[in-house]
Symmetry: C2
Subunit: 241 residues, 2 copies
């Protein structure tokens, strides 16, 4: 049995307000939770932690839930009083660096896997739930001194904000598919290219961390080393290679 | 007095063959050099080092110069017999990781600054000439265990393949300008956003590592922390803030 995890590609989707595109899935994740949401704003700059938390609070108010920023709490047993943790987007390197500095990675992983807390991530927070941050799109603005390993709640990689190649593009920087091919030159781990508007759901009745369900809009493409990428099934359970 | 450095944004420019867009600048850099070009293919996958070197050899043949891949030589005093080193593009994390593993960063820096070898970089090889790889666009496919510091031949940052924001874009992933703003939230170092087709030249008569000349096509935008970005002058010396 797995524990509920919701990994959103992007909090901002063209034509939708903040997190609104995936509101139904968020509502399902937080169902019957009686605590506030524990929000982790560490992907943003330190000066923005309060305002970022306010933005998240405004969203969850529409679901009748309060939000507490993890940066406002004492460090000791910080996860104990919450039924759901939400790690928001921003810069993935900054997020990992801060979680390493605060020695939070082990505690978050343990608490999610024990079933005591449900996990919601968006963008950088989605990268954080996977094996490593090695498939982030972000700029390496800060060095995470303890490596690129993330929470490993699912044993694959995610590339959020996945963008299909533009056949007629004149810009010669690598396409996303080329970058993921470079990743597979050095690593043999499956990558989910999660388009904006899509999310990954792990349900409680799934048996392993390789069982997933893609929901939302726009879907996802699956990249397996040395194979042609393929479109993920949507709204049904499938098992990753 | 500085030593000749040529930093190209991209070897591939729309409408041009490999390195052809900046051929005049390359010709000027290698003028009167009697050795082959020492080529560093480490931004590519190991299986591609030979074919990558062949591609570079084909280009330099048009300038009547031979090319030797650094991976084909014994490690000891590998820089001694060459008048110019070219570090090619690919993945910046892989390049830095390999240079760290082979303990080459200190030797390359010392040899360029002593005037014994001229430096040419393209894309990842351009990032490598700057303070750090913190403004690369590449995916972090491999962890450089000794940090993100690069050769520091010029004391600023470069963002190669710089792309101006698209005002009507519907994709909500960060624009390049937003990524550079995130860099400046954590670092106070000037960044040169070098558009494809443009290059940075350091001439021998420049007095400091903050004197530069932007050449080629498409130009560059300069990003200074807490200031509005501005267009760099082209084809004339200017001094970075």
């Amino acid at each position: 049995m797995q524990y509920p995890i919701l990994l959103i590609s992007s909090s901002a989707v063209h034509g939708y307000g903040y997190l609104e595109c995936n509101k139904d899935a968020i509502k399902a994740l937080v169902k019957d939770i009686n605590s506030p949401v524990l929000f982790v704003p560490y992907a943003a700059a330190r000066s923005e932690w309060d305002s970022y938390t306010d933005k998240v609070r405004t969203f969850f108010k529409t679901l009748d839930m309060d939000v507490v920023g993890i940066h406002t709490l004492p460090h000791e047993n910080v996860l104990d009083d919450f039924g759901v943790i939400f790690i928001g987007g921003g810069n993935t390197f900054r997020l990992l660096h801060t979680l390493q500095q605060q020695d939070l990675l082990g505690d978050i992983r343990k608490t999610v896997l024990s079933g005591k807390i449900r996990y919601m991530g968006s963008s950088a927070g989605t990268n954080m739930a996977t094996r490593s941050i090695c498939t982030t799109n972000d700029m390496p603005i800060i060095y995470p001194a303890n490596g690129f390993d993330a929470l490993n709640l699912l044993t694959c990689q995610v590339n959020p904000h996945y963008l299909d190649p533009e056949p007629d593009g004149t810009h010669k920087g690598e396409t996303r598919d080329q970058r993921l091919a470079e990743f597979h030159q050095e690593n043999d781990i499956t990558v989910i290219g999660l388009r904006e508007g899509a999310y990954i759901n792990i349900h409680t009745d799934f048996a392993t961390t390789r069982e997933l369900c893609i929901g939302g809009i726009n879907g996802a493409k699956i990249f397996v080393k040395d194979k042609a990428p393929y479109e993920a099934p949507v709204n049904e359970k499938f098992v990753l290679e």
